[in-house]
């Protein structure tokens, strides 16, 4: 078990799917997370966005040791983490607008601020004409853009994205990367899991590479 003592760090060690993994990411850092299917990328991301807890080891996120905080503090910590899920995980009974507004509503933001931020973000991802559409009425790429908008609308301190460009065309993928790098420049720590090595080459950044549930490259 290893851990980093300060700053925004993510350390994980789980004997189940991934094991003996130790690394640290500095505040405002950017990491690509790569590896073949089944290498453990999604499992590691789940530890990062606190959907799972390690059976062994220690995770420090945004300066907080996750295992030592209350359920309430855990929920508040989750609000500082934006997540783009591989399967989007949108609420099918809510409109695009309401899906994107969810993190802000949970954070008790004013409706005026929610309206301003959500409409701006949906315009930015090219969905300004589909605010009241439900996910089932949208294409896979459009659903992915909603998921991305929901992940970044709360200006998270940590953004974790699992194959965020998987359903996007090149133009949309480019726009997404511009958004992510802009957030990163503003201080958001970013971890993006991808198979798309072209994307990795176009946006050079340190890389965490997994193989067989173990970290085989960091840097």
């Amino acid at each position: 078990m290893k851990y980093r003592r300060a700053g925004e760090a993510i350390l994980a060690s789980s004997p189940d799917v991934i094991s003996d993994i130790s690394f640290a990411i500095e505040d405002g850092g950017f990491r690509w997370l790569t590896g073949a299917s089944g290498a453990g990328k999604t499992s590691l991301l789940k530890l990062m966005y606190l959907a799972e807890h390690p059976s062994l080891g220690r995770i420090d996120i945004l300066g907080t040791q996750a295992a030592r905080i209350s359920r309430r503090e855990m929920a508040l910590l989750r609000r500082r983490i934006g997540v783009v899920y591989q399967d989007f995980r949108l609420l099918d009974h809510l409109s695009a607008y309401d899906n994107v507004a969810l993190p802000m509503r949970l954070a008790r933001k004013s409706e005026a601020q929610i309206r301003a931020d959500v409409t701006e973000l949906l315009r930015w991802v090219g969905l300004s004409g589909k605010l009241d559409r439900r996910p089932a009425e949208l294409s896979g790429g459009e659903q992915q853009r909603i998921a991305i908008a929901r992940a970044v609308v709360g200006r998270p301190k940590l953004l974790v994205a699992d194959e965020p460009t998987g359903n996007l065309d090149d133009d949309q993928a480019e726009r997404l990367m511009l958004l992510i790098t802009a957030l990163n420049r503003l201080g958001t720590t970013v971890v993006v899991a991808t198979h798309n090595l072209n994307l990795v080459r176009r946006y050079p950044a340190p890389r965490l590479e997994l193989a067989g549930g173990r970290l085989v490259a960091d840097g």
Partner: protein, 298 residues
């Protein structure tokens, strides 16, 4: 631009927690609870009435009433009446008239008891406000007219008290069972809603919802449905209560009057408590159920 409503159904609970089945079941529970509640009130009212009347009644039987008493040159009935009127704590002593006695015995011996071969005793009624035993009075009556029997309603009053106590305990047990069943039904409905909306809950949970955010949503829904169901059940129980009140009126000493029967004022006060209690059970049960479920989630 379409502006989202402020109070949206984030978890889709309108479809996850059925708005017909749950109120129907809680309504049925409420119906039973109202009947049990009315039962406790009726038992208390009847007990008060019966104990007051029966406990104070003194009944004296004078066998061979027309025969002369041992002293005074008067018949045995008059002698016993004289003793009763002279005894402190005994008031209103009077012998039943022939027709009154006939009416009293008619169910067992038929009409016109004067023609019976059986000797019928005189019956004297009085009120007894004494606190001690009847032994002294019985001795005095027996001296005036040997074979005279005296009895108060205290023994019956004690039995009535025991009966009404049992009825009230049974009604309380019914209320408790109804409350527990309602809680169980609400818990099952909540679990079903949680299972149905598991993915939505996981998503909202992952976005940073507090346990209270999710539990409150379920609890508000369950509370509204439970209160509505209970209110309907209570209203539906009213015709039954009026019918039972009409049946029970003679036993409660209520003088019949024209118009529909009335219900005790205390019942009108307690009736609104049923939906309120259902709402409280709904809120507490759902909060416990959802928070326990969330603790197992992550």
């Amino acid at each position: 631009m379409k502006v989202a409503p402020r109070r949206i159904d984030r978890l889709g609970l309108r479809s996850a927690m059925a708005d017909r089945l749950l109120p129907s079941v809680v309504g049925a529970m409420s119906f039973l609870a109202v009947l049990a509640l009315a039962g406790t009130i009726a038992a208390a009212t009847l007990a008060s009435q019966w104990q007051g009347d029966t406990g104070a009644a003194l009944t004296v039987q004078v066998p061979d009433p027309r025969r002369l008493a041992a002293a005074g040159g008067i018949d045995r009935t008059a002698a016993v009446l004289g003793v009763l009127q002279a005894t402190p704590g005994v008031t209103g002593a009077r012998a039943l008239t022939g027709p009154e006695l006939d009416a009293l015995l008619e169910p067992w011996l038929g009409q016109d008891t004067a023609k019976l071969a059986l000797p019928v005793p005189a019956v004297i009624t009085a009120s007894w406000s004494g606190t001690g035993s009847l032994d002294g009075l019985r001795a005095a009556l027996d001296e005036a007219a040997p074979g005279t029997l005296a009895e108060t309603g205290a023994r019956w009053a004690a039995r009535v008290a025991a009966l009404t106590g049992s009825l009230q305990a049974s009604a309380a047990a019914v209320l408790l069972i109804v409350a527990l069943v309602a809680a169980a039904v609400l818990s099952v409905a909540t679990h079903a809603g949680l299972a149905q909306r598991r993915e939505a809950i996981e998503i909202i949970h992952g976005l940073g919802a507090l346990d209270s955010d999710i539990a409150d949503r379920f609890a508000i829904r369950a509370t509204v449905l439970a209160a509505a169901g209970a209110a309907i059940g209570a209203v539906l129980a009213l015709p039954v209560l009026f019918w039972l009140a009409a049946l029970a009126a003679p036993f409660a000493g209520i003088v019949p009057h024209p118009g529909p029967p009335t219900l005790p004022a205390i019942l009108w006060i307690e009736l609104p408590a049923v939906p309120l209690a259902a709402a409280a059970i709904g809120w507490v049960t759902t909060q416990f159920t959802v928070r326990g479920w969330l603790r197992r989630l992550a």
